[in-house]
Symmetry: C2
Subunit: 363 residues, 2 copies
C-alpha cells in the first residue's frame, strides 16, 4: 500500500470519497428536480468515472466529439448525446456506425450542418436523432431563441433526421460575479429554453428533450418548469473556479495535483515542478487570479512555463527545495486531458489508477 507521499511529482490525484459524494449530490439534485441527469464526460473522459455516474442513476453520458463517443461506445456505454454541432459526411459515416451500437443523439445549430449528416443516414434508410442548440446568452454556438422555430422546422423536414428536442449551455454563468448572479443566469437559461421548446410544440414540432447544462447553473436551471434533463460536467471533480463561483466548497474538490518545490531562488518566489503541461494555462473564473492555489496556504501560482509553476510567496509562508505541496487547479477538465491516467486516492492512501481513456480525442 503506497501513500501520496511516495508518488513521483507531479501526479494528478482524484479522491474517490469526494468523487462519490459529488456524483451522489448531483444525482440527488436531479432526482429532486425530476429531471434526467446526463453528465458531460469531457471532464473525466474515463470509463471508471462514467460508470460511477450511471450506477448512481444518470440516464446516459454527454460528450462533444465523435472520437470521444467512439471510445465510450467501445467500452460499452450505450446512451450518448454529442452536445456539439457535428458537421460533414465523413463524421456522419462514423455517427452511422455509432448509431448501430448506442442510442445516439447529436446536437446541431444549422440547417447546412444537419443536411451534411442526414444525407448519409437517409441513404442507409436510417434517421439521426437531433437536438437543436439554442443560445440562451453564452453567444458561442446555438440559434437565437427567436429563430429556433424556423430552423427547427427546416431541420425536421430534412431526410434522415428526427428532431428530438432542444438544448443549451448556460456557460455565461462562468462570468457571473456572485453565486446569486449565477443562479439568476441558471433560471433564465431554463426559462428561455423551455419557452423555446413550447414555441416549437405550438408549431407542431417535436421538442420532447429540454436539456440544460453547466455545473455552476445546474442547481438553478434543472428546477425550471419544462426542463427534462441536465448535463453538468465539472461537478464530478470540481476545481478552484467552481469554488470561486460558489458551486462547491474547497473540500468538494476531488482533483488536485501533488507537486514538489524544485527551486527557491528568492524570498518571495518558489518554483514547483507543475507547469502548463500539467495544469494548463486556463484562467480562473469568474475573475482571473493566477494558475492554481496551494492547498492550506495563501501563496499561489502566478506564472506558468511549460514545466515550471512560479509561486508568489506570501508573507509568513516559506518554501524549501524538496517540499511537497498540493495544488488546486483552475480548471479540472483540461488538467485531466493532459494526462494519460490519474491516481485514485482516499485521503493519503493510493488506491489505483483512473484511465483518461478518451484523452486527446478531438476529432
Amino acid at each position: 500500500m503506497i501513500s501520496v507521499e511516495e508518488l513521483p511529482t507531479p501526479s494528478v490525484l482524484v479522491d474517490l470519497d469526494v468523487l462519490s459524494q459529488n456524483v451522489a449530490r448531483m444525482q440527488r439534485l436531479a432526482n429532486e428536480a425530476g429531471v434526467a441527469l446526463r453528465p458531460h464526460a469531457k471532464t473525466h473522459k474515463s470509463p471508471e468515472v462514467g460508470r460511477l455516474q450511471l450506477e448512481a442513476g444518470a440516464r446516459g453520458l454527454t460528450l462533444a466529439k465523435t472520437s470521444e463517443a467512439e471510445v465510450f461506445a467501445a467500452l460499452g456505454f450505450d446512451d450518448l448525446f454529442l452536445a456539439y454541432p457535428i458537421v460533414g459526411a465523413d463524421k456522419a459515416r462514423r455517427l452511422l456506425a455509432l448509431a448501430d451500437r448506442v442510442r445516439l443523439t447529436v446536437g446541431a445549430d444549422s440547417v447546412e450542418g444537419v443536411r451534411s449528416l442526414g444525407g448519409v443516414f437517409a441513404a442507409a434508410g436510417r434517421r439521426l436523432r437531433i437536438r437543436l442548440k439554442v443560445d440562451t446568452g453564452l453567444h458561442r454556438v446555438g440559434v437565437p431563441p427567436d429563430c429556433a422555430v424556423d430552423v427547427a422546422a427546416r431541420i425536421a423536414g430534412l431526410p434522415g433526421i428526427e428532431l428530438a428536442g432542444v438544448f443549451t449551455h448556460g456557460g455565461q454563468g462562468y462570468g457571473a460575479p456572485t453565486p446569486e448572479e449565477v443562479a439568476r443566469v441558471g433560471r433564465a437559461e431554463a426559462r428561455v429554453l423551455a419557452e423555446t421548446a413550447a414555441a416549437l410544440r405550438s408549431a407542431g414540432l417535436a421538442a420532447g428533450d429540454v436539456s440544460v447544462g453547466s455545473t455552476p447553473t445546474a442547481a438553478s436551471a434543472m428546477t425550471g418548469a419544462g426542463v427534462t434533463e441536465c448535463r453538468p460536467g465539472t461537478y464530478v471533480y470540481n476545481d478552484r473556479s467552481q469554488v470561486a463561483l460558489g458551486s462547491c466548497r474547497e473540500a468538494d474538490c476531488a482533483l488536485s495535483i501533488v507537486a514538489m518545490v524544485v527551486s527557491v531562488p528568492a524570498g518571495d518566489r518558489a518554483v514547483v515542478d507543475a507547469g502548463s503541461k500539467t495544469l494548463s494555462t486556463d484562467p480562473m473564473r469568474p475573475v482571473e487570479d493566477g494558475f492554481g492555489a496551494i492547498v492550506g496556504l495563501k501563496s499561489r501560482i502566478v506564472r506558468l512555463s511549460e514545466e515550471h509553476g512560479v509561486l508568489s510567496v506570501e508573507p509568513g509562508e516559506r518554501f524549501r527545495v524538496g517540499d511537497r505541496v498540493r495544488i488546486l487547479p483552475n480548471h479540472a477538465c483540461v488538467v485531466a486531458n493532459l494526462h494519460d491516467e490519474l491516481v485514485a486516492v482516499r485521503g493519503d492512501r493510493v488506491e489505483g489508477r483512473i484511465r483518461v481513456a478518451a484523452r486527446g480525442k478531438v476529432q
Copy 2:
C-alpha cells in the same frame, strides 16, 4: 495518397519541407557561431524530429523532465541534458539508471537540490554531471550571477557530483516589444552568462559548458564571446508568437491545424472545431491577441472553450458551415503536447505520422 483536404478535423499538421529548412537554418547559425546546438526537444517530444536534428549536426538533445529523458533514452538517444532543477532521491535513482545508457547532464540551482541527487550517485560510486543554472533576467529559476561562484563552489564540493558548467534561458526575450529589443536581450544573456563562467574559472571551478537558450534570442546569444552551446526549441516548428517576435516569417511555421467551421451563429461570429484541447489557452507573445490566426485571413480566434474556437469575423471575410480553415497557433510546443501524433505533410500531400512519443511525460 491522401491529401490534407481528406483529413478529419481538427488535425495538427507538420510540413516536412518547412521543418527541414528550420532544422538546417538553426544548425547553420550554430556552425557559423562555432557553438554546439542542443535543441530543446520539449517542442516536438518526437524521436523522428529529434533524429532530423542530430543528423543535421546537433550535439545532443535538451529535455526538462526525467520521464521525457527515459522515453528518448529508450529510443536510442545517447546524449541528453535535462535543463531543469531535478530534485529528490527517487528521481536520482532514475537518473542513475539513465546515466548507464546515455551521456547525461542535469541542471541545478540549489545546493539542497544537488545534494539530494549526489547522495545516490556517490553511493553507487558514480558522479552526476551538473550545470549550474544562472538567472540572466527571466527571474524564474536560477541563481543570481553574483551568487553563482558561492553556489557553484558548494555544489562542486558535494560527493557524487561533477560540476560541468553553467546555463541560462533568456526567456525574458518573449516579452521584448521589438526584434531589436529581443536581440539586445540575447546579447545580454550571453554576456552575463560568459562573465559568470569566467568568474567560476577564476575561482578554480570547472565551467567548460556555457549554454544559452530560447528561440527568439538564439541568433543573438549564440554569437556571444565565451558561449559554447545553444538550446533553442520552438524554432523547429515555429508559431504565431515567433512570427510576432521576429524569430521567423509566417512561411517558416511548420506546424498548423486544419479545422472546420461548425457554426456561424451571427454575421460577426464563426466557430471552428478546434478549442483549448487542440490549441491550448496559451497567450500570444509578446502581446496578447487571441488564440490563433486563420492563415490567409484577418479573422482570428478570440475565445476558446474546450472544443470550440470562436472567430471574430473581420469585415469582408465570410465563413460558412463546412468550410475548412488553417490555424496558426500561438504556441507550438503545447499544441504538440496535446496530441498523440501529428500528421506529416508536404504542402497538401499527407506523408505519414509524427509520434509525440514523450507527450504528457511530466514527472
